[in-house]
Amino acid sequence: MEFGPIWRAMMRNKTGAILIALQIAVTMAIMVNAISIMQERGRLMSRPTGIDEHNIFSIASIGFAENFNERVTIEEDLAVLRALPGVVNAIQSNSVPLSGGGWNTGLQTEPGEGIDGPSVAVYMVDEHGLDTLGLNLIAGENFSATDIGWRELSDNDWPDKIIITRATAQALYPDDPDSALGNTVYAGDDEAITITGIIEQMQAPWNGWDGVERVMLAPSHTLFKGTRYIIRTEPGMRDSLMPQVEELLAERNKDRIIRSMRSMDEIRERSYRGDASMIKILTFTIVLLIAVTSLGIVGLASFSVNRRTKQIGTRRALGASKVAIVRYFMTENFIISLVGVLIGAALTVGLNIVMIEAFSLTRIAWYLVPVAMLMLLLVGQAAVFGPAKRASSVPPAVATRTV
């Protein structure tokens, strides 16, 4: 192939080539970084909460009347809920994963002031908690009914036992997480709590928190005037049970209002809506970008072909076949695109470094760069094919025209 002459000719008429190469370079930089962001968000969004999401929904109950007896209400509500056909189990709790609001506290392995320890999210549950949430107990035992206390808003004491996630055990005992079971930890500097169980995994309410896997279950009912119930249904029964439960609870007791009924699926969607939207916006941007760059290449290539009509005719007269003409322009574009993606690779890495500094994004996966290079080379070739084909249909007789 005639790389030499093509390169030399291009060098004498650089402008069009530089414009296309730069466009390809910047497009690549944007594209790869955008894809990297999308990959990261996708990763975040695919993290499991550890609970049986598709069959769980939550509903809030807020007492207001003078004679609202919260304790009785809760006990009766739970009894009724658990008896409903289609309900696997139900609990009352202060929060739910991905809801955005909840409790956390610090735990330390030694008592005393000034001792460092990880902070963990707190979910208050009763002995039905593991079953309701669908959690996997991998060591120790569940709470028993007698362990469950009733905590008022102004109570500051912690129960004697807790169940923690494996991640919490790792944070507390990095050298020997398996030893966590049975150990004593301290909340609020000096309050001793025994770890009586370890669950495999559960997420905190805040999806952007770096401690999102650190959770502890505290055996407590809450008397905060307002609470939420977490209900787990048989597979497929969730949608029909939700309005039923809402109606049931509202009718049972008029001293409180029932609101904010949401399925876990909906809670997850709201929690990650920003990330999901970001992914959609970036996808759209990339598509638009490639369209714009392709059209740019088509435009510039067409122009370049039109300028060289005489030259094309001459080549044909000198013996170039149509295929040879197409090959000429495809090769020319290939060289330009190659320069473009090489510059693009440098720009991509540069842009990524800037973004990591400014926005703490993650580094791009190494394979994205060669994949993007290949892709843009193909896009460039596809874009120039039309003009190249049109170039090949310039009749050889053009060479003899004098006008």
């Binding site: 910047v26 944007i30 109570d155 941007t285 435009g299 067409s302 122009f303």
Partner: protein, 437 residues
């Protein structure tokens, strides 16, 4: 001459509609994408109360955990304790000051068959309303005596007033909250500061509260706390009393200081207060009082999401790609009419005549791109609204500043893009492109 060039530009654009459409489209797409994100950023980082933003200060005191003190991490907690809030309110050293937090109450309408519903509540003081210049439809806020005497008064938001009283003047009537009767002293007009700067701790762009009641009432009746509560130390003792006296932070504190002098004085007061607390055994960390005005506080709380900034960077790069595109297309266009250009030169046009003519043509294309770009921006904002749903309803409007920015950006970009092609066009020698048989 200018109108002559405009005419020439217009004729030139019309002569090759396909190419012109491509150029205008290239700019429009770039402008559409960038302006969509610029608007979101602009609104997010806008000044919600420009007439006063440098007189309202968010107060931070540092009574936090001495073991979490890092030389480089000089962060005071973003809320204050009950003890400190009450002490500052009592001292009354600023022109105006308020401590506030959020609760959720249940409102029982009096009508037959009406069901109770929950209302979001802001617990605050008399000064809140004049401080933040909240607009009223009926009545006004309460005065200091209501705070001191624990009067059950309430200011309703417009929506609640519509829902419960059909929008009438309900001042003087009462409404039942959490089983107690509160007297209505005022009905507020719709007020949607974007961002909701006076409490960003739980989402700067959420709706403002449904109703407002005195802070002391909320404390007295132990209403729920609907915000963040953080404690580094367990309260001493049990019960609500112990909680109030603890080092838990859950209250936002704002002060209005009308001049630099007032600001200095208040800072001095805060420092003296902190010293005093140290002597009483509190505030174990080095003194770290902060007074941030509205814009500083927004910045501190990182109200403009990182995501919005990232998108801004990417969309400006997108604009660069569109501009490169435009340069190429303009080059094609101008060199394509080299016969016209060399003829004009032969007939006496100077280089600068040609330069101005072609810059004006570029500008015209920019104008076209800007107008279509605005349409695309509007579409883009609708798209963002759809994606984010009720999270950012108030973020996506185009005001005059943004419209002018869009057009301006389009024209400037087109002029920049046109510089090189125009320069090339001007270099065409007179009569060089004319055919001589």
């Amino acid at each position: 001459m200018f109108s002559y060039y405009l005419k020439l530009g217009w004729l030139s654009i019309r002569r090759n509609p396909f190419l012109s459409a491509l150029m205008i489209a290239a700019i429009a797409v770039g402008i559409g994408a960038s302006m969509t994100i610029i608007t979101v950023n602009y609104v997010m980082s806008g000044n919600p109360i420009p007439q006063k933003s440098d007189q309202l200060f968010y107060v931070q005191l540092d009574g936090w955990d001495p073991n979490k003190y890092d030389e480089d991490d000089f962060e005071a907690p973003d809320q204050v304790t009950y003890l400190d809030a009450m002490a500052l309110m009592k001292a009354d050293k600023a022109y105006r000051q308020v401590a506030s937090n959020r609760s959720g109450l249940v409102l029982e309408p009096q009508g037959e068959g009406e069901r109770p519903f929950s209302v979001s509540t802001r617990n605050t003081w008399a000064d809140f309303f004049p401080m933040f210049e909240l607009p009223f439809i009926y009545g006004s806020g309460w005065d200091d005596s209501a705070d001191d005497n624990l009067e059950k008064v309430v200011v309703l938001g417009k929506e609640i007033n519509e829902r419960v009283f059909g929008g009438e003047n309900s001042v003087g009537r009462s409404v039942r909250l959490n089983g107690m009767d509160f007297q209505i002293v005022g009905v507020m007009d719709e007020y949607l500061p974007v961002p909701r700067f006076y409490d960003v701790t739980t989402g700067a762009f959420d709706e403002p509260a449904d109703i407002f009641i005195p802070f002391n009432i909320a404390v007295e009746y132990e209403f729920s706390r609907n915000g963040n509560t953080s404690c580094w130390k367990k309260p001493d003792g049990e019960g609500y009393e112990a909680f109030l006296n603890s080092e838990c932070v859950w209250i936002q504190f704002w002060a209005e200081l009308r001049s630099d002098e007032e600001k200095q004085d208040y800072m001095a007061f805060l420092n003296a207060y902190a010293e005093q607390q140290k002597e009483l055994g509190r505030f174990p960390r080095p003194i770290n009082n902060q007074l941030s005005d509205v814009m500083e506080w927004m910045e501190n709380q990182e109200v403009v999401e990182d995501d919005a900034r990232v998108m801004l960077g990417l969309s400006l790069l997108f604009l660069v790609v569109c501009l490169l595109n435009t340069v190429g297309l303009l080059l094609a266009k101008f060199l394509g009419k080299s016969a016209d250009i060399s003829l004009r030169r032969a007939l006496g046009a100077s280089r600068s005549n040609l330069f101005i003519q072609h810059m004006i043509e570029s500008g015209l294309i920019g104008l076209g791109g800007g107008i279509f770009g605005l349409v695309l921006t509007w579409l883009g904002l609708r798209g963002i609204e759809m994606l984010f749903g009720d999270f950012i309803e108030n973020l996506v409007g185009l005001d005059w500043v943004m419209v002018l920015t869009a057009i301006g950006l389009a024209i400037v970009s087109a002029l920049l893009a046109g510089l090189y092609p125009t320069w090339r066009a001007c270099r065409i020698a007179p009569a060089s492109q004319l055919k001589i048989q």
